[in-house]
Structures are given as C-alpha cells and as structure tokens.
C-alpha cells in the first residue's frame, strides 16, 4: 500500500517543519491532491492514523482538498476545469493536446497548529 509510505513522507515533512514551533501541536495537516495523482483519500486517511501513532502528530487530522484537472487548450486558448479524468479534450472546442495546468499535485498546503498559552505569555513579556 503506497498510501502508507506517502503518509510516512508527510509525517517526516511535517515533523521537520514543526521544528520551528517547538511548543506547538499540530491539529490539522491540509493537503492538495490532484485528480490524476493516483492517491486515494480514504486509504491515505486510514494510513495517517497508522503513520502518526506514537509520534507527536498522533491525534492530528488529515484534510484533503482534491483538485480537478485544469486544461489549457492550445487550439482555442480556453483554460477550463475538466469533469473527470477519462478524457483530456478541451470542453469548448473538443481538441486534444492541451496543457495540464493542474491535476498532478501531491503537496502539503498548510498546517493548523495550536500554540500553548505559556508560549504567548513569554512572548508578551519579552
């Protein structure tokens, strides 16, 4: 199941990023996943629980934003969202051979983190 190794990759990346926020806890990890990225949301969420067990990310939620395929047509210049992933024809003129502007993404967009009160107080004091 490669969703597990993808989940493990996310854990590594997030842990690395969280080094900058030593007293904070991750509540949510927000992903952008393109429709052509070959990643299944449910599998990924299932594996998230496994991958975060025993780590500082245990209990955090994974939120997935699925991005549709966006095609820029070379023939008529239209840039449009496609309904599915079965055909890469321009929805306006029907031509093939357009540019894929969106649809293969697999990235961590942002984190929702919670910082402890004691950290704020020490920030105010300094």
């Amino acid at each position: 199941m490669h969703e597990l190794s993808i989940a493990a990759s996310i854990v590594d990346s997030v842990t690395e990023a969280m080094a900058a926020y030593p007293r904070a806890r991750v509540k949510e990890v927000r992903l952008r996943v393109g429709a052509l990225a070959s990643v299944i949301e449910e599998s990924l969420k299932f594996c998230w629980g496994l991958a975060t067990e025993g780590t500082e990310l245990a209990g955090s939620a994974l939120v997935v934003k699925t991005l549709p395929v966006v095609l820029h047509c070379g023939a008529c210049g239209t840039e449009a969202e496609l309904d599915g992933v079965q055909s890469l024809r321009c929805p306006r003129c029907g031509e093939l051979g357009g540019d894929l502007r969106q649809g293969r993404e697999l990235e961590i967009e942002s984190l929702e983190i919670e910082e402890a009160a004691s950290q704020r107080v020490s920030e105010l004091a300094s």
């Binding site: 490669h2 993808i6 997030v14 079965q86 697999l106 929702e112």
Partner: protein, 229 residues
Amino acid sequence: MSTTRIVELRRGILKKNDELAAGLRARYAGAGVLVLNLVSSPGTGKTALLERTLRELLGRGLRAAALVGDLETDNDARRLAGSGAPVRQINTHGICHLDAEMIGKHLDGWAGAEGGVELGDLDYLFIENVGNLVCPSSYDLGEGIRVALLSVTEGEDKPLKYPGLFNSADAAVITKIDLAEACGFERETALKNLNEIRPGMRVLETSAKTGVGMEGWLGFLEGARVQGR
C-alpha cells in the same frame, strides 16, 4: 488559552523522491545513457519484451543493462541474464513500486561489484518496474522515457481505467499482438483511448514471442538514443 494559527508550507509530499530523481537524471545525462522505466500490470509481458530487446541490442553491438523490480524472487533477473546483458534484481519485499532511492542504491552497489556495471559504459539502461498500474505513477526514477505497456488480453479500456499512469507515460507498447485475434482485441479503440488520456503519445505494438513489431520498437529506441533523450 491556546492560540490556533495556520502555517503555510506548500511542500511537495514526494519532494524527497523528486530530488533524488533529479539527481539520477543528471547522473544518467552525465554518463550518456538512455534510461527507460517500463510500467504495466503484472503479466503484461515486460520481461518477455525486455529479454528479446536485450538480445537484439547486444546482437547489434549496443551496450544495454537492466534493473528489474519484484516483491520477491530473482526469477526475472535470471531470465533476463540469459540475454547476455548485465542484469540486477531489486527485491522490494512488499513495497508496490520502485523509487529513486532504491535505484540510486542499486546503481551504487552495481558499480563496485564483480560483473557489475558503470553507467558510462552503457547505451541503454532498462528499469523493469514492479507490476502495478497505480503506484509507480507517482515515483519519478529519473528516467528519460517512461513506457507503459498493456497487452491485448487486458482490454482496450485499460488506459481509461488507469488514467494517472497512462497520462504520466511518454510512450506505450501494446504487447502480445499475436493473440489479438483470439482475444477479439479492438485495436482502434485502444489507440483512441491512449490518445484521449495522453494526446500525441507514441504507441508501438509488439509480439516478443513471434517478433512482429520488434523492428518498430527497436527503431523507436534507436531514435530516442540518438536524439539524446
């Protein structure tokens, strides 16, 4: 009271693999070797095509080698070694795809080994991926050409069922064409579907068993090598 904030990351999840793959790509370019990543379902005929291809290339005085990925066994490597080309097996022990780290490690190990291979000595390196039409799609191996294979026994709608993988490929090979009639394979439909998912994709058709289409495939390989990609 605690405060909540949003930290923007915009970081690719497969960033590590992408970075290693970029390193491999530069390494292949420096060595002047054309690397192909062969992907397909299990049983499509990657090994059979590769076996015949390696024999033909060596017979023409070209230098080729293969890295073959499987969960378990070295059966494919043994089979391919019969061609006379250097072949190395990668066993993933359960991982469903090859990744750039595995390729890098095996190439490093191979360079020093007895009967091993230096990339600079090769015209072609073929990487036979684990039989899987889903996971290999996301893992760049630094290859110059990604070839997706589908056999006439798998149905004309295969590209529509696995759009991610076929869209990520540079070329496709329809294999086992000697069985096309027996399977009622609809060739025009298959070609149309490939073109819908990956417009303009180059498609070859072969039978490793009878040899039909092999000249076309070898011509494609030669053209790609000469073009330097």
